[in-house]
């Protein structure tokens, strides 16, 4: 019988892992839903986000790095993580725009297997580039010790859960802030309306005279920025190495949208949380079986409810 505190800590850890899955899943799902483009390089964007975060973190650190050597020794925050919080999504956004224009667009009218293949190749290229430019070695996670002057390196005591790393609490907070904002943008703005309509019937949106091609690049860029942001969050919790793009990001992102339902933002959030809680529960109880149970759950989900929690059956088919 699990103790209450164990359940609470499983849920909290699940929330943290689920937030990363959800961020990845939202990006993948809006791209898949709107453009019916399946991006196997989504994990590569996570990788780019993690490494960009790492570089910004190191270069803006005030004990060494670029900023220090140019004479700036105080910015009011430690470790450069806040700088990374802004730089990483912008870099991701830019890469997303480029990807849409040069990689995705030529393949919209080709078979979906071709899309899978070309983005798979692209993922390989990115991973190998990182390996060759930065090196294949593993970097420590980039969590700063203080943020806004608050010490986040010490665990704090929470009711029910007990001791929990305060940095992870901060991460959960900021991840859900971004998830919430994305959700609001898609639910409440004109841009979101176009995206939603696009996921249902992009042909109809075009016929109505809405310049969906411009929305395409925006959607792609937003998706990429979210993936890069997820990479930054992931890098602050786990170690960074060139393999994380495929191992920690791409496959979980797919599982997330399979569980949530392709094309649905709500589904990606729900799917991410469900998977996060499963993996967290398994890790704390039978850690050897964690990944296996995760995969079998997704397989079962596909068989029992193939359209996912919130998806419509046709999207991504």
């Amino acid at each position: 019988m699990l103790l209450q505190s164990e359940i609470a800590s499983i849920l909290l850890n699940g929330l943290q892992q689920g937030a990363i899955y959800a961020l990845l899943g939202i990006g993948l799902t809006i791209i898949l839903g709107t453009m019916e483009f399946l991006n196997l390089a989504h994990g590569a964007l996570y990788l780019v986000g993690a490494y960009t975060g790492l570089i910004v973190f190191q270069e803006t650190a005030l004990s060494n790095g670029l900023l220090y050597s140019s004479g700036i020794t105080t910015l009011g925050f430690e470790g450069g993580f806040l700088a990374a919080l802004f730089v990483v999504p912008i870099v991701g956004f830019g890469i997303g725009l480029l990807m849409e224009r040069f990689v995705a667009e030529p393949f919209y009218d080709r078979p979906e297997t071709d899309q899978l293949l070309v983005t798979f190749g692209l993922a390989l290229i990115v991973e190998e580039t990182v390996k060759n430019v930065i090196g294949g070695n593993t970097f420590q996670s980039i969590a700063p010790s203080t943020i806004f002057g608050v010490n986040v390196s010490q665990p704090i005591s929470l009711p029910l859960v007990g001791l929990f790393p305060s940095w992870r609490l901060f991460i959960i907070g900021i991840a859900f802030l971004v998830i919430g904002l994305t959700y609001l943008v898609i639910e409440r703005t004109d841009f979101g309306l176009v995206v939603q309509a696009g996921t249902h019937d992009s042909e109809m949106v075009r016929i109505l005279g809405i310049p969906i091609n411009r929305s395409y690049s925006l959607v792609f860029a937003v998706g990429a920025a979210l993936a890069a942001f997820a990479g930054l969050i992931g890098a602050s919790i786990q170690t960074v190495s060139p393999q994380i793009g495929t191992e920690q990001a791409l496959v979980p992102a797919f599982l997330t949208i399979v569980v949530g339902g392709a094309g649905s933002v709500r589904g990606a959030i729900a799917g991410g949380l469900v998977l996060g809680v499963i993996i967290s529960a398994m890790t704390q109880t039978y850690s050897q079986w964690a990944q296996i149970v995760l995969y079998l759950f997704v397989a079962l989900m596909l068989i029992v409810k193939p359209e996912g929690l919130f998806g419509s059956a046709e999207v991504g088919e």
Partner: protein, 396 residues
């Protein structure tokens, strides 16, 4: 992808089950074109190529390498390795190129056969029986996985196969490590003699050339058998249905055929090939690890080889396997005058080439050469309108 097959202008004669292929580099008349598909011709032509293959790859390229000062010749095990992957991708292409199903989980069949063969060798150290044992296990595994995965199509099919493959990978790495050796991998494979201890696999077949080992002979025979079977399948009425499925599934359903059954069969057949290859691989390498055997990147490698070589023909993917393994094993060790050691850059280069091929030559290297040959022969249609039309026809 599969739509590109129409570029070959196949004409089926349903009753006899024969197919004549009259495009793609056929310089002669229909007599030659007819000959190209005959089983004995395919097998004999390939056998001839297999006889000279190690000589070209190791001795000739080695000699050229000595002259230019860059070692570009293969090592003695490479020809066998290329053929082993060749066997796998012939089967994989039946699924991807003909039936139009993209599986990201074939490492499951490759790896399970490899582990089964390795475990079986502890009891009966006979390579031939090891291959049979490994193939049986892969086939038995393919049935339930296929049964579930085939229910979904397109992207979902890819994700489902990936899911099952990864579950097996993590099982082999964790809970199943009592059987698989876990992260230490599985070594100690006993497979030394081809026939009950006689004919050790690393013995030479031909006195002077040390690249012609018994292992190579064994692999060649299996390769020829695989090719013969593959050719039989695609030229039979049964294989025609695979091809029809790749082009338009709905139409096949309207004709009244059981789509599910044929797709499942295509899946299982391709898994049999992967199983044979997996067992051969473990005999060749004497070692298997979850990462080389079961990880999804291994499945991705099968995809790359197949697409690189060309999905539009039976033999095409084998060229992909050759390019892939040559780049991975030889080019990666080359040190160029200006650039220096290539080392791990090979995957980068391969990724770039792969993207280029998918982009520009959807029919792969073999397809590109076939188009080129057709152009030289003044037919000209090969690379122009036909693939474009095929791509257009693919969309729904």
């Amino acid at each position: 992808m599969s739509g590109d097959r129409s570029g070959d202008a196949n004409e089926a004669v349903p009753d006899g089950g024969t197919v004549t292929e009259d495009a793609a580099g056929g310089s002669g008349g229909s007599a030659l074109a007819g000959l190209r598909d005959r089983d004995d011709f395919v097998v004999i032509a390939t056998a001839a190529a297999l006889v000279v293959f190690p000589f070209l790859l190791i001795d000739i390229l080695g000699a050229v390498g000595d002259v230019i000062g860059i070692s570009i010749g293969g090592y003695t095990g490479l020809p066998s390795l290329v053929l082993i992957y060749g066997i796998i991708v012939i089967g994989f292409n039946l699924l991807l190129g003909y039936t139009g199903l993209l599986s990201f989980g074939h490492a499951a069949f490759f790896g399970s056969a490899a582990y089964s063969a390795a475990l079986f060798s502890q009891v009966v150290p006979s390579p031939i029986l090891m291959v049979i044992a490994g193939t049986i296990v892969a086939t038995l595994l393919a049935w339930p996985i296929g049964f579930v995965s085939i229910r979904r199509s397109g992207v979902y099919f890819a994700v489902l196969t990936l899911t099952f493959g990864q579950a097996l990978y993590f099982w082999a790495l964790g809970p199943g490590s009592w059987l698989t050796g876990g992260d230490n991998g599985f070594s100690g494979i006993e497979a030394h003699g081809l026939f009950v201890g006689a004919l050790p696999l690393d013995a030479q077949l031909v006195p002077v050339f040390d690249s012609y080992t018994v292992m190579y002979g064994f692999t060649s025979v299996v390769m020829l058998a695989a090719l013969w079977v593959g050719n039989r399948i695609i030229n039979s009425p049964y294989g025609l249905i695979f091809e029809a499925l790749g082009e338009n599934e709905e139409r096949v359903e309207f004709v009244g055929l059981n789509v599910f059954r044929y797709k499942l069969m295509a899946f299982i057949i391709s898994a049999v090939f992967a199983g044979v290859g997996g067992a051969m691989f473990v005999i060749h390498e004497q070692y298997i690890h979850p990462t080389t055997g079961l990880y999804w990147i291994q499945s991705g490698d099968f995809v790359i080889m197949t697409v690189l070589g060309g999905t539009g023909s039976l033999i095409g993917p084998v060229f992909g396997a050759l390019v892939f393994e040559y780049v991975a094993n030889v080019i990666s060790g080359v040190s160029l005058p200006m650039i220096g050691s290539i080392g791990s850059l090979w995957r980068f280069v391969l990724g770039a080439v792969f993207v280029f091929i998918v982009w520009v030559f959807p029919r792969g290297i073999y397809g590109a050469f076939a188009d080129l040959a057709a152009m030289v022969n003044g037919r000209g249609g090969g690379d122009g309108d036909e693939p474009a039309a095929a791509d257009g026809g693919e969309r729904e």
